[in-house]
Amino acid sequence: MAQRRISTGSRVFDFFNYFLLALLAIITVLPFIHVVGSSFATSAEIARTKFLLFPTEFSLQAYKYIFSTDTIFRALGVSIIVTVGGTLWSMLFSVLTAYGLSRRDLVGRRVINFLIVFTLLFNGGMIPTFLVVQQTGLLDSLWALIIPVTINAFNMIILRSFFMNLPQGLEESAKIDGANDFSILFRIVIPISLPAIATISLFYAVTYWNTYMHAILYLADADKWPVQVLLRQIVVLASGMNYDAEAYSDVPPPEVTVKMATIVVATVPVLLVYPFLQKYFAKGALLGSVKG
């Protein structure tokens, strides 16, 4: 009797739990589906049906339009360069620093760790950082999007704790064989840490792809704007399409689909790497080890 009552209550609980979680997941992705769906719709259909998820008539009109000038190609090019270059740059610095600080016998390790963690709690703020970027000659160069954010302290700490949890014996035996620290790092440690390195690389890549603030802070030259800045211009500021107005001399198509298509273009690369990200961070332990 008691057994039965518990299991009914449990079943009701399960029903609501599954229902609410499914609802949450659907609500989370619904806006994306709306945007992607609308970007492939015809202007007529957009005007007719307001709440559109899947267009009945498939159209590439909006995409043809945004790719008809080189504005978006230039912005995508900048974003790709910054993402690929920045990720390699950041990983090089992060891995070297994280591996060095993972060595327990290092004199001064605690002090250096503290100096790095402290930057998470306090920083100079926007203006002094801007002045340093200016003084180091980075303004109006794509390096301004990369060098000032070379190492993300969180990412470095995740890598460091991953390296610290590797079996110590491997390094010891390599040392006995006369290998130096660099060859230990590149020949032994990195090959067995690929999951962690892949995850952190993808974190960096997503951050670089999404960069917006540094572009508006440090780049005055519109030719160097990454795709996020362009997206902002198209969706919000250019209600009258005042960016590159002459370039779009054709009859302007419905602005809505163009905005939707630009959002999709700025988002798709992230969605493409997402399955790979998902595969690695499913092993949530990696992030659980941030602390300590």
């Binding site: 008691a2 499914a22 307001k50 100079g124 703020g125 002094p128 905005k259 949530g284 332990a285 659980g288």
Partner: protein, 320 residues
């Protein structure tokens, strides 16, 4: 007796000497490791610590052509100006309200979602939900705000279309002061609530399944199991994240707020970060805006130290 003290002293010296040479030996042995750390260290010194030194311009009348060395000292003038300005309290209040929304509305949500996910027994369902709710975290704020914009806009936005077809008045969400805060926090929830579950779920996996078994034997229902077993097990993680959140008191996301800010909602949307940007980079008041940023960062640091102290007082681990 004298000889024995001498030898003791000598022994101490000897030990010190050995220790020092041992330290030197360790440093020398690791010289390549120091070489590895050096580039990273230089980065932190130049782009993190040099700006901290640059905070001194908040006590100066900094002129770009004079530099830090040539500019005049003005003491606390900029701070005085900040506290006496009519806008200070408006910005202070706005910042505080957004922080309160983050703390009291956003913070508990990932915890609740992780507790719910933990009760799911079909792993494909659990993984499916996780995959979907993590997605927005990887979208830039520009994308999040842009999607909100096209959905909420008066002409052709889906939300107003739905409101209209249900017989309601259209609402100008994007320009209306009253809608700024709900919009802000909903966007934060949309982007971060799912991703926020990761760290709690990781902590929950460490819970011993036998505890649930024992609780079931005692007749505890699912809610009681959550309350008495799962929640206490992740208490430390919750406290650590709470401290970090409190330390972030004034880090409400420059990008996010800046993207939502416009001239009609400025009264509720202007926060310290956006104010620093406008006063500093758009109007060129470097020293004044640095003082504003310094004030904000200082409060953040004090709060995180205080929160950590409080946690320790209650015998929790804290963050350092």
């Amino acid at each position: 007796m004298e000889t024995s003290t001498l030898t003791a002293e000598e022994e101490k010296k000897q030990v010190k000497k050995i220790k020092r040479s041992e330290t030197w030996r360790r440093i020398k042995r690791n010289k390549m490791i120091y070489l590895m750390i050096l580039p990273g260290l230089i980065y932190f010194l130049i782009y993190k610590y040099l700006p901290m030194y640059g905070l001194i311009i908040s006590f100066m009348d900094y002129k770009p052509y004079l530099g830090i060395m040539g500019s005049q000292w003005v003491g606390f003038d900029h701070f005085a100006r900040l506290f006496n300005s009519a806008e200070f309290w408006m910005i202070f209040k706005n910042t505080l309200i957004l922080f309160a929304l983050q703390l009291f509305i956003f913070f508990p949500i990932p915890i609740i979602i992780s507790l719910m996910l933990n009760e799911v027994r079909h792993s494909f369902f659990k993984r499916g939900v996780q995959t979907l709710i993590y997605i927005p975290h990887f979208m830039s704020w520009v994308v999040i705000v842009s999607i909100s914009y096209v959905m909420l806009t008066l002409d052709g936005g889906i939300v107003n279309a739905i409101l209209e077809s249900l017989g309601f008045q259209k609402v100008n969400f994007l320009l209306n002061e009253d809608w700024f805060r709900p919009m802000y926090i909903l966007q934060v929830i949309w982007r971060e609530a799912g991703w926020g579950t990761i760290i709690f779920l990781a902590a929950i996996t460490a819970v011993d399944p036998q505890l649930y078994e024992a609780a079931r034997m005692d007749g505890a229902n699912r809610f009681r199991q959550m309350w008495h077993i799962t929640l206490p097990a992740i208490r430390n993680v919750i406290i650590v994240l709470l401290i970090l959140k409190i330390g972030d008191v004034l880090e409400l996301g420059f990008e996010h707020v800046y993207l939502l800010l416009n001239s009609s909602n400025r009264n509720v949307a202007e926060i310290f970060d956006t104010y620093v940007y406008v006063a500093g980079l758009q109007q060129g008041q470097f020293s004044y805006s640095t003082a504003v940023g310094f004030f904000k960062g200082g409060i953040g640091l004090i709060l995180v130290v205080f929160a950590n102290w409080l946690a320790k007082k209650f015998n929790e681990e804290g963050i350092y």
